[in-house]
Symmetry: C2
Subunit: 354 residues, 2 copies
Amino acid sequence: MRRHSEFELIESLFGPLAMGFPGALGLKDDAALLDPPAGYSVVVTADAIVAGVHFRPDDPPDLIACKLVRVNLSDLAAMGAKPWVMVATMAFPDSASEDWISCFATGLSHERQQFGIPLIGGDTLVTPGPATFSLTAFGLVSQGQALRRSGAHPGDILYVTGTIGDGALGLRVLAGQLSFSGDESELAAHLINRYHLPQPRLTAGAGLLGMATACIDVSDGLLQDLSHLCQESGVGARLVMKRLPLSPSAVAAVRQTPSWLEAIVSGGDDYELLFTAPPSTQKALEELAQTTATAITAVGTIVAGGNDIVFDFEGTTVPFSRLGYQHFQACYPRPAGQERGWVLVADHLLQLVT
Amino acid sequence: MRRHSEFELIESLFGPLAMGFPGALGLKDDAALLDPPAGYSVVVTADAIVAGVHFRPDDPPDLIACKLVRVNLSDLAAMGAKPWVMVATMAFPDSASEDWISCFATGLSHERQQFGIPLIGGDTLVTPGPATFSLTAFGLVSQGQALRRSGAHPGDILYVTGTIGDGALGLRVLAGQLSFSGDESELAAHLINRYHLPQPRLTAGAGLLGMATACIDVSDGLLQDLSHLCQESGVGARLVMKRLPLSPSAVAAVRQTPSWLEAIVSGGDDYELLFTAPPSTQKALEELAQTTATAITAVGTIVAGGNDIVFDFEGTTVPFSRLGYQHFQACYPRPAGQERGWVLVADHLLQLVT
């Protein structure tokens, strides 16, 4: 069967994703036209994902599309912005069937509905390499109100939404490195779902406007992103390990093999919000957690000192060097012995939580 | 030598490209903040390029970066927009050296200077596949003034800037398919330069505001893009073949092998503006050509009839079906005999121009 031409494909599969937004010009012009409402700043973020690096080539195509959108929406959430529109460049491998591309478009369509974010432009192409998708997401936030990484003060409480580590462990389940007994298949399913379908914390992020002093989304790993927040704010942090919000699946994984803790705190793919707020906001945050049905957990405190982060084990503190998944470091093996250190830390943690 | 981490790379190579634009937040936050000036629409376009498809893997990395920027700026030019900011996602192959990446950043830096367009965000990653770059370019245009593809009327004159076909022929020179004798090396150099370094027609595009009735940039090939313009405007066109503006290099190529005409009118990579304007604007267009030092050539007329395009050979008209480079069709061999048709057309054209 002859494949559709590029222009027919754009029109039939992606054209409908532009509907309802006149400035998209039906994806039929050289560019789109945006007129932001008065009093708002436009928040812009872009992330790309590559088959074999950020998703598994055999992941369902609609879920790949959802993840592409959500990793970007998570960045909007971290600024407290409301999603507005998106632009995507999509390089499909020559081997991708029309069904595969169509299923991918269905995923984008789902996200357009779910988050009210039309596709207003972009590019479709064929690549001789792995599927590669880039998305630029646009949000809106009241002028001067956007959350930043740089406003944390000593004395602020450090919070995180949801649970940490599930996405990273879900990837290990899919790779066959982590498994649960037959009775516990729902533990694995939870992790896989969290890997495939991040939940950008948009309503929580918007609710933090005027309350959080600093905010970042956890995409590179809790430690790495905490390090970014501390660096931009010029502060240190004390992370109370026993307060880390872990799902039952993550707890079960660490009970099996304590060194999974490393994946939990540095594996990334969480798309939760890590933020700071003064102690005076505690009650308001409890209300926000209730109204948005989002777990918000205090996991530590901000202290003076440039980017000086310590583990706190009920009084005993352990400093740690910067870790976390970095794309350009992933090519290199981890230094010998480092994994052993994580086992010790996890053992210690287990004594606290069990 | 250990490669820099992703964050160090962003900071050292790409951070400086954000300077002077406070909303970029130094590329150190989750997203960038844009506050468009009152009275302007934001024009947004995104195009991706892949090694081996849109550029040659051994092209100089700084020129690849320039091309990435310029193919997008050409879309802004087609709307009459002034460049504002850009966002890039850059997937470098694992084999790319720091020197290669650094040279690529130098190209972006050059474009930032040349077009006053800071890099306000994006993503850098490593891909197991070919180098893949996606850029979202933002422009500004007075509200309600943007040029569109859809406003051409019967009776309008059809114009094109610069010369057509040089980029497509430049690619053939680099591929060893087209060569010139030793005395004519500057003919080849001109084509190669046009392939590597498109000249987005930004000042001409801005000058067309309020004058052109429809406009598109020629990226997929003159015939393909004329077809888009006609389709969106609901009109036909009569293209006077002997008026096509060809460089001395392109004329020499067609004299060698008449079928190069197909590459000229359908090969793409021109990044010239194809636009329509009523006959009353002729004098103003001549002035615009002078003040912007841009050749503007009348190449035909707009006629009634849906997307009905004919060649005009001084009275004899030849209809032609839609052609042009389409990424999704490029996988399939061209129908047999079609090339012979182009030789006949080119022979006919040569009789007119020689």
